[in-house]
């Protein structure tokens, strides 16, 4: 155990200081929690609206599969050759990115 002869006088916290610290802390936490839940609610709402819009478009569409879609067929005929052709691969297919590597994505 440390031995010493002098010590700092005890800090007296006034009621005003205590309420100030607790109030500011509570306000920060409440604002943060409100902002976070608001973001999550908004995100959920937009996902539901987007999904509903896609289903509605799908229900209205005459051709619901790409291989039965005349516009897609026309595009392959005039431009990309055939499905999985080198040009179609280059333009329409994405590459794998390992996003488990945190912070490694270079801009």
């Amino acid at each position: 155990m440390a031995t010493y002869d002098y010590v700092e006088k005890a800090i007296k916290i006034t009621r005003r200081e205590f309420l100030g610290v607790v109030g500011v802390g509570a306000a920060i936490l409440w604002t943060g929690a409100y902002a976070a839940t608001d973001l999550v609610q908004d995100r959920t709402k937009y996902i539901k609206l987007r999904a509903a819009g896609l289903y509605r478009d799908d229900a209205k569409a005459a051709a619901r599969q790409s291989h039965n879609n005349a516009a897609v067929g026309e595009m392959y005929k005039k431009f990309a050759g055939k499905p999985l052709s080198p040009l179609a691969e280059e333009l329409f297919h994405t590459r794998y990115v390992d996003r488990s590597k945190l912070g490694g994505m270079r801009s």
Binding site: Y4, Y6, V7, L39, K101, G103
Partner: protein, 228 residues
């Protein structure tokens, strides 16, 4: 550790403050170092990935330390906040001569400086930066950790920029803090030892603190020291 030869001693850093300081060493220091790695990306993706994992773990230690210290040692936090926001003419005088450090380091002579309390003017300014910067870094850091898929892109962009700028400023301040902490060897021994310092040394560095803010320890019958 024998204290007898140094004369009377004063407890400068109680156990709670020393433990919080260890929390900062294990939390803020690795977070700052890995923060520079994440900013400059000096190595492979695997190296940067490891830095990010350490950054997140260290941030958790830092956040937990700060929250626990605030909740369990509110009196120390209030004392710190009171000190870092107390300025008067002595601070102007102290800052004008750089606390006498340039003269001591480069010219090898000691000049008179205005008497300081427990924290000198430079430490108080660093304290203000650490208080607000620490809150900003913690808040923006956890926002970047958890809310990137949820929050608007512009908000995340500015949170990222703020995290970077405040992180660079505080990270560089940390190196200065480490240098001056080692330069003031008595202060280093107090913080990493039992928290005590010879009274004569404290009178030299913190005369206003010794004059106004400390008191003799109450001794129980038989000379046994009562816990502070």
């Amino acid at each position: 550790m024998s204290h007898d030869s140094d004369g009377p001693r004063v407890l400068k850093h109680p156990l709670s403050s020393r433990l919080f300081h260890w929390g900062l060493i294990l939390g803020f220091l690795p977070a700052a170092l890995t923060g520079f790695v994440l900013w400059l990306k000096p190595g492979s993706d695997g190296f940067v990935n490891l830095a990010m994992r350490i950054h997140i773990g260290a941030a958790a230690i830092f956040t937990l330390s700060a929250v626990l210290y605030t909740l369990l040692c509110l009196d120390r936090v209030v004392a710190f906040v009171r000190r870092i926001f107390s300025y008067d003419d002595r601070d102007v005088g102290w800052l004008l001569v750089g606390g006498g450090y340039p003269q001591k380091m480069f010219l090898g002579r000691k000049i008179p400086v205005p008497p300081m309390g427990k924290l000198n003017s430079g430490q108080k300014m660093m304290g203000v930066a650490m208080l607000f910067g620490g809150i900003v870094l913690t808040a923006t850091g956890w926002i970047l950790y958890a809310f990137i898929p949820l929050a608007p892109k512009a908000f995340i962009y500015w949170a990222d920029q703020l995290h970077l700028v405040v992180g660079i400023v505080l990270g560089l301040s940390l190196f200065m803090h480490i240098f001056l902490g080692i330069y003031n060897w008595g202060e280093f021994k107090a913080m990493f030892g039992d928290g005590t310092q010879p009274l004569a040394e404290a009178e030299d560095h913190n005369p206003a603190w010794v004059a106004r803010e400390i008191e003799p320890v109450q001794k129980a019958a038989g000379g046994r020291q009562l816990p502070a």
